[in-house]
Symmetry: C2
Subunit: 151 residues, 2 copies
């Protein structure tokens, strides 16, 4: 089983905090944080579309893609754990994608097999990366029966 998390930004943006989560997650499941170049274009629409193409070229038709989107489905940590585990078992590999500075293009949202959100608040993209790692780590710990998650 394998988890890939794509984000728009540079590898050196990944903080030690995130690296620590990756290290812990990898005890249970191979997990990578994969940078994609930000478009670097001022026009929101053009930038989003360019970034969408970059991402869509990285995945195959069979990939199970999960987009982080404010309008996505909200699950609590237990539900997210059960759901994530089910997708990992079904597809072997799951791919998360986090929007760039301007968010995700509709093409990516349309391609995504599932959309998930962290409540109704808007979060800065670097924080979404850390929050995603925290919930993926928590999800695997819940599934593994550790006492990390306290309800």
């Amino acid at each position: 089983m394998r988890i890939k998390i794509y984000f728009f930004g540079k590898k050196n943006e990944i903080t030690e905090w995130e690296q620590e989560y990756l290290r812990r997650i990898n005890f249970r499941c191979k997990c990578e944080l994969l940078p994609l170049n930000q478009a670097g274009i001022k026009d929101d629409k053009v930038a989003k579309e360019k970034e969408a193409e970059l991402f869509l070229n990285k995945i195959s038709d069979q990939s199970f893609v999960i987009a982080f989107d404010e309008k996505g489905k909200e699950r609590n940590s237990i539900q997210f754990s059960e759901w994530t585990k089910k997708q990992l078992e079904t597809f072997g590999e799951i791919i998360f994608v986090i929007g760039g500075a301007h968010g995700l293009h509709q093409k990516v949202l349309d391609r995504a097999n599932a959309k998930v959100c962290f409540g109704t608040m808007v979060w800065t993209r670097n924080l979404v990366r850390l929050m995603a790692l925290e919930q993926i780590y928590r999800a695997l710990e819940i599934d593994g029966g550790s006492n990390f998650h306290k309800n």
Copy 2:
């Protein structure tokens, strides 16, 4: 106007990321992140109660206290901004409190004038601190009319 955020932990746990948020928030409103000693007791109930007393001794009867609690009210970023601004204008000072390793004691939840949550997921307390700073920063930027928040 002034914002105080109490957490259970040590001052040196505050990351550079959080310090950067504090620096930015302070352009608009005085804001402090205030550590309280963790109880350091294995028994959950006793630890929570000891921590509750420590916090309750720091505040006055007039303090407007907001607890971060999974069962609290969920607001989107715009709603949180409007609500926070209203409390700041009404009370002059607002006090947030983040639970320790075992969460907040019922005494603190009962004393709180309001309870707020970040969706239905459970987050580790260090991450809640960073998430709180992000939303407070975002709230003040929205209120100040900057273009930081994109809907």
